[in-house]
Symmetry: C2
Subunit: 312 residues, 2 copies
Amino acid sequence: DRRPDVIPRNLPGDHISHYDLNKLASTPMAVYNKEKVLILTPVSRFYDDYWVNLLKLTYPRELLELGFIVPRTKDGDLALKKLEKAIKQVQTGKKENRFSKITILRQDTDSLSNQNEKQRHALKVQKDRRANMALARNSLLFSAIGPYTSWVLWLDSDIVESPPTLIQDLVSHDKPVISANCYQRYYDEENKKEAIRPYDFNNWVESEEGLKIAAQMSDDEIIVEGYSEIATYRALMAHFYDDKGDVNTEMELDGVGGAAVLVKADVHRDGAMFPSFPFYHLIETEGFAKMAKRLGYQVIGLPNYLVYHYNE
Amino acid sequence: DRRPDVIPRNLPGDHISHYDLNKLASTPMAVYNKEKVLILTPVSRFYDDYWVNLLKLTYPRELLELGFIVPRTKDGDLALKKLEKAIKQVQTGKKENRFSKITILRQDTDSLSNQNEKQRHALKVQKDRRANMALARNSLLFSAIGPYTSWVLWLDSDIVESPPTLIQDLVSHDKPVISANCYQRYYDEENKKEAIRPYDFNNWVESEEGLKIAAQMSDDEIIVEGYSEIATYRALMAHFYDDKGDVNTEMELDGVGGAAVLVKADVHRDGAMFPSFPFYHLIETEGFAKMAKRLGYQVIGLPNYLVYHYNE
Ligand SMILES: Nc1nc2c(ncn2[C@@H]2O[C@H](COP(=O)(O)OP(=O)(O)O)[C@@H](O)[C@H]2O)c(=O)[nH]1
Ligand SMILES: Nc1nc2c(ncn2[C@@H]2O[C@H](COP(=O)(O)OP(=O)(O)O)[C@@H](O)[C@H]2O)c(=O)[nH]1
Ligand SMILES: [Mn+2]
Ligand SMILES: [Mn+2]
């Protein structure tokens, strides 16, 4: 007794679209129900392997829309060029391989000039970077989400490897917000072999200590996770990976990163966005998780489900 | 040296749109610059006079988009029917009179069944109503705003009279958020003549007392303005109307109502939405004003610029 998907009903001779939000489903049977998924990626650099991995995703292309936001920097110009070239190849190829819609935005806010991994991660720089990223994510979200969107997949441009069934896998958990665990491949000099290590520390469970620190902060201060300057003792999902564990193991989170997060579109439509100002002393993706929770939604992480970050 | 308006650039054979947010202007010369205005109206009841007034607005129709969200109630069904009929008449009429796009959403959240003015305004009921309205406004906003939208005009469905130059007048102030003063016509029994009185008390300036009350509240409590149960002593714009004053007089506000508010689309795109949860102890339009301010934007009211609310 499932209701049909959203069917825009058009009156004659014009551009009137009707959408019944009640019939817009986000279900574990997303493919069967032809649910539209919008993949959103802020792009400061274009990585070939991101694109190769994206093209490997097995969710039907006619149900996939893409949205990109590119900063107004030299690196942004270059990324845009590469992105356009990659897109053109797919969208002028076989009809059945084309994405149903692609939106590319140029950012209006000033971007911080490109930095390497170490510079980017310095605590002082992080706060400005993350506030700026929050604005970029919001612009992208508000511009690209449609009344027919069922799911939004946030996928960073430097995620170069994921299971091809990424969307179906995340969808199957049927959660409002669900985050994969973001690791990085590297060469282990000591043991002389390829290995993996945690990369994204923004997926975490709140701690007594974290709450205590927040309580003592002034309204305008923020905590960004993963810095020894602020020892929160939060449980970081990155450390919960168990290579012998069930890949579907779930854990409830209080903060998420943006590397690979699937969100039911209604969570965003209810108002969950990426605060660029301190929201419970959190910003950007971590603030988003808190906002989703304030809206009554569950935020879940999959410690054993890995996606991989580019290694500079 | 104004940059051209947003021009979607399309690659061959597909649906790729480019938008340069930097070139998307929201300026006092909106008509001249062909800036797109999106009028958003939550509609629990359809008033003929709202529609008549809307059609009198002189902003060019080809630059106007409309968005409505209608609750899932008996009254909502009726409102939708009337709305569709009214729309059909305009959109099948002369080409130059048609709106450029119209989106109609049916709400997915449960709506509180219709209530009369007095029931609606009871404090206990208000909190649920306003939280519900916040969700409706967010769904409408996220669904209808496009990457090309320059301005969003929030116009309640029971605003039955405004100057025909409403949009141009508000736009000319060039403010991120600007609210008209919402009054009501009535028959003054004492003086036996038609008169006007303040209607919307959600446009206000924060007070010492208001801040004190908020500071003593628990995280989950909210203040809704206009109730003797919570005496905030805030300066209410409704009381600042001066019939001999300059219609362009501006005052800085901390809270706004939703009757007739013009917002630069970038304010929303930066993330300003209508919180359904307590945000600095505020929700819905009042919470929106606070959020816009947290994002660094100015919120302005026009005490002498009147729009009129329906009188049941
Ligand atoms: N639009 C936009 N995207 C950015 C900017 N800076 C980084 N990004 C993208 O945002 C995502 C996360 O940023 P990244 O620098 O990888 O953060 P990290 O992995 O946490 O160090 C990636 O997809 C980047 O390409 C920016 O200034 N503007
Ligand atoms: N979509 C939707 N709109 C509503 C609902 N309740 C009221 N509205 C609309 O929201 C606006 C403000 O509501 P209203 O009842 O007039 O509030 P008041 O004037 O402050 O008493 C008006 O445009 C109403 O038509 C609802 O449950 N759903
Ligand atoms: Mn990264
Ligand atoms: Mn009203």
